[in-house]
Symmetry: D2
Subunit: 378 residues, 4 copies
Amino acid sequence: MAKQLNIGMIGYGFMGRAHSNGYNRVANFFPELEYKPVLKAACARNADAIKAFADTWGYQSTETDWRKLVERKDIDAVDICVPNNLHKEIALACAAAGKMILCEKPLAMNTAEGEVMCQAVEKAKVANTVWYNYRRIPAVTFAKQLIDEGKLGRIFHYRANFLQDWTISADLPQGGNGLWRLDVAAAGSGVTGDLLAHCIDTAIWLNGGVTNVTAMTETFIKERTHTLTGKVEKVGIDDACAFLCRFDNGSLGLFESTRYARGHKALYTFEINGEHASIKWDLHDLHRLQWFDHRDAGNLRGWRSIHVTDGDHPYMSKWWVPGLQIGYEHSFVHQVADFCESLAKGTPCGPTFRDALETQKVCDAVLGSAKTGQWANV
Amino acid sequence: MAKQLNIGMIGYGFMGRAHSNGYNRVANFFPELEYKPVLKAACARNADAIKAFADTWGYQSTETDWRKLVERKDIDAVDICVPNNLHKEIALACAAAGKMILCEKPLAMNTAEGEVMCQAVEKAKVANTVWYNYRRIPAVTFAKQLIDEGKLGRIFHYRANFLQDWTISADLPQGGNGLWRLDVAAAGSGVTGDLLAHCIDTAIWLNGGVTNVTAMTETFIKERTHTLTGKVEKVGIDDACAFLCRFDNGSLGLFESTRYARGHKALYTFEINGEHASIKWDLHDLHRLQWFDHRDAGNLRGWRSIHVTDGDHPYMSKWWVPGLQIGYEHSFVHQVADFCESLAKGTPCGPTFRDALETQKVCDAVLGSAKTGQWANV
Amino acid sequence: MAKQLNIGMIGYGFMGRAHSNGYNRVANFFPELEYKPVLKAACARNADAIKAFADTWGYQSTETDWRKLVERKDIDAVDICVPNNLHKEIALACAAAGKMILCEKPLAMNTAEGEVMCQAVEKAKVANTVWYNYRRIPAVTFAKQLIDEGKLGRIFHYRANFLQDWTISADLPQGGNGLWRLDVAAAGSGVTGDLLAHCIDTAIWLNGGVTNVTAMTETFIKERTHTLTGKVEKVGIDDACAFLCRFDNGSLGLFESTRYARGHKALYTFEINGEHASIKWDLHDLHRLQWFDHRDAGNLRGWRSIHVTDGDHPYMSKWWVPGLQIGYEHSFVHQVADFCESLAKGTPCGPTFRDALETQKVCDAVLGSAKTGQWANV
Amino acid sequence: MAKQLNIGMIGYGFMGRAHSNGYNRVANFFPELEYKPVLKAACARNADAIKAFADTWGYQSTETDWRKLVERKDIDAVDICVPNNLHKEIALACAAAGKMILCEKPLAMNTAEGEVMCQAVEKAKVANTVWYNYRRIPAVTFAKQLIDEGKLGRIFHYRANFLQDWTISADLPQGGNGLWRLDVAAAGSGVTGDLLAHCIDTAIWLNGGVTNVTAMTETFIKERTHTLTGKVEKVGIDDACAFLCRFDNGSLGLFESTRYARGHKALYTFEINGEHASIKWDLHDLHRLQWFDHRDAGNLRGWRSIHVTDGDHPYMSKWWVPGLQIGYEHSFVHQVADFCESLAKGTPCGPTFRDALETQKVCDAVLGSAKTGQWANV
């Protein structure tokens, strides 16, 4: 008989849906798991909105004060799915209440906040994970597997982009529902925390620590109407950010993210060049991994487009048959499954808060370098 | 308050999972629907197997005799998810019992069976649909929309392939669970009914009726061990089938399917060439539609790779945000949603049995032509 | 010291340029060849036009009567680069005069003409070749090499298309310079002789003889103004042609060509599926070969996109460095080089007239089947 | 009657071949030009080698001392096709002798040398151009045309890579024929002058001047045998170089080049993101331009893959017919054609020495920043 993992969800936006879907589907596709999520309660200040959300997703109850949810005895784990500026306070309360935490990324507004959060969960010994979901796209997990097997040899280069184009219009306001990512008070930063943080998390996972960085940021649209004040206000976030870096393993890194790359909706791409082999992946065709192996016969060398849908690819035995692709949302199902499995095994479910703090440190170094014009150590 | 649509599922194989997932997810993503599927009962002869299936997917009860399931008062709709040779008998019983029917494709073993089934559901006036799910891949639905808007002009060519490579090994047996598709007694035909039927359904939907055909079939591996008898037996199915045809609209068609195309897992592709514009699609990158428009400025003409993930693309406003792709299984969620909506509206949900009979007629003409070496009228 | 190969060119159209470029460039890139082409004379009825052509390409003299050119003592080899209905007469005169012949494809108007031409050159023992140039695109030659090495194993499928879209407008006239390909009197057939002949030549080269065929042709625009008469006349050519076939090796073939595939300029593609490996190629990216090898590790299988620009790829050591692509015209340079080499060695330079006759036979069977509606033996 | 442009070539390596081919072919494909190159003399210290080269390419005579070639009365223009460290001296001699100069890129070892060279040619008023050939790949020229027409609107981003993998082996020596690019004494720098210089030239041409940069370089293999001394010596060049920059138009730039990107032979790519449209191009498929236009209907937006082979594409009316691609070498033919045309018109043929000096300045700023760790102004 499965053990219940009672979930309390705080938030109901885009990510609230993605996580809820993860909880709902895991038992259908990972029936062997010892733990099974139960959607116990959902919480938001707007009572009507959270009621509708709870009805749609099957949460058994609602709250309008997150402190009440955190205090409920029938909640085992809290999912923090609210703007970045609220992560720390909620996480500290959860840790104090002995709740497990599944926190949306980025971990915090900055390294200092993140460090406090790490200490809190470690002291409380509560299970914790951060939703850097792209680690669990099967093609990305497969890349990790190939690297861990040593198939690439010495690494020379790592490059990653996260390109979007949805904020090019100067008419787009900042702040409030759906647009808090443009409000520096709620988000802490722009593309750095929103997009580059994903790239950095994957990079550290695949290629190890970042030593130092030199960065550049830009805010192309300087002022936007703020939906909360109704006034035209200065834009405090970075619209674009790029940085060069060196990794601890001696390889060179190149990272860029922007919301002004016309033609790209959510094009997260990375490429790793090793001595023996190279890997490429992009989010717009997330079910494929590009693989080049120099050990192939000389005249037959070429980039292989691997359709990562076979039973021997990570996670894929759980789904359909070869050739039938899965999508974006499945990465969250996988993270729920791995979280459940880690509970049963008593092991951490990466990225933990501590893992995610490393990404936060790189983000801080990047934003710092962009201000000073100097290389910054991580 | 949603109305319940009580489902009785017969079968628990690959398609049983795909349909069940469709029923389970529709309320999360189409919360506005008046009807909501409820998984009332699942049925199969193997009691343990169907119990495990029911537990995983949340069916409330199980049956081991499909006749009992069909007779249950608490069942509104029966999902026929068993090998082709059982479709007719079950469908007739369902119609007699006044049950709605969602039948896995192909409709029947042949046109004669299909005709009987059509008459039964039409006489009984029960809602009926056939799971030609590819119509509801958003990119394919979008293609239909573009054609209906007249954007292609006069159509000259239609070509479609369905290429797989999973039966190349002579060691693969035929018959029994998972392999009944290789057993002519259970499947009726090989790739024609299994794969080409999909291509034909889409083609008729997008391009209208087929007039006549000339075809060729081949069975590359002539004998295989039969898992039910344990003996090496003659293979009765077609391993590969190709045909040329003329459509009623004057365009030419070219169709091919095989399980011997090394390198292709489930590559269903189609292309339509019109006077003004052309369309291409393939199942291995199902979230994209290729679009060529001759009305673009001459020097800027090119095939556009449309990432069909925006809110103004069919079905996509229900899912995530632009750039984040969905997968294979979502086509079934969409068909459930459309079936529920059609119930509320009192309209048919295509492809109905009658629609699917057209595909059956083309399949029969194809198999007939392959035998006689003559062109066959549909 | 190089031996001169004195060329007499009859014709000065698109193919006249392509062949002339081949003669002009071969000495720069294949300096080791014993024979070196010398552009001795060019011939056409229009004296001004042929003079201009000769000046541009460096022909030493001109003629306005092809019979004079054929009789000239200083000509070793005649290049027949005129509409199809003139091939036979010129070829017979050349053979009678003991001239080598490089004949534009297709060999003849039909098999009967071709047979006479074969007998003439064989009786005269003159070197002869037909300009099926695509054999000598490096990626195509490489495909041949891989097949000859047995890397694909038993072949199951061969499919080829040649898709164009340049005749869709009903305003396009037929006949005369540049448009003789639409005039059945000059061309003999439409896409069958013009485009499918290329596909068939490659197919026979790569996959062996064709046993029998069933075909379909269509003329979408029934009447066009004839530029020579000024009148609207019935169109006698096939605008589109498709056929199914069986090869002597037991594999199945699927061929299609059309000038009504909107969006495709000159998309010649072929794919071969073998037991162990598969190959794809297309003319729009002619410098790449797609390769799938089932013997790769299971989870790393994928189609490789081979950039055929390395020194160990056919012909490529003659050109630039890896990564730098060549184009369409180089196939003619290669054929000239191979013709020169075959002269030195005293071996045939394929496709010879006799080889090209096989393609003619398939074309005739295809056109015949399209008329009778019956399968036709080759 | 065409005017002769008498060429004296110094050098006979890879680029010597590419330029010679350009001179030889221009009259065939651009017959209307007033000036026609004549290969008067080729020069190198190795008498046998230069004799063989002259024979292959049709040079009328040879020299073994470049000073003699520069002094010859029958030479109009000198092509400097030797390692970078010799450019300045030869160019100054040519200017003094009143010869036109076609100089291989990069212009010089550094900005200081380049400035002297600019002053010399400007004082002497001799026609001068630098072989940044990629400007004249038709797809790249087409990109320039689209930008100049204002089709992209305000530019936000420019990114370019030049990725190779040919020096990964530690066994590869440095110095001498073919390997002088690895010898800092001959080359001045590594990938910066060899590869990034191309990227920078194109970028300045398409997107205007670079304001400032922050850069990073790396030498992965620290020591290599020197072919001239036979000893293991320190490697002085940069194996990889990346930089961030700001352009004068406010857009952000990201550049990278390396010879350690396994899987890439000569992958020069660039992308420009504008307010209304974006462009992508890469050298491995140089005949295509990727174009995204936000002004397309919302649901039909997608990246168009434009096959740049039509008569209304730059240079392409000179070659074949739509769909038939040209290759790398044609960029040199185009530069020769444009040089001849500029002579007739009395206009400069870009990039002139002065244009190329801007690229040199960026290279120097990049190399400087990589040393100091500071942003550097150009």
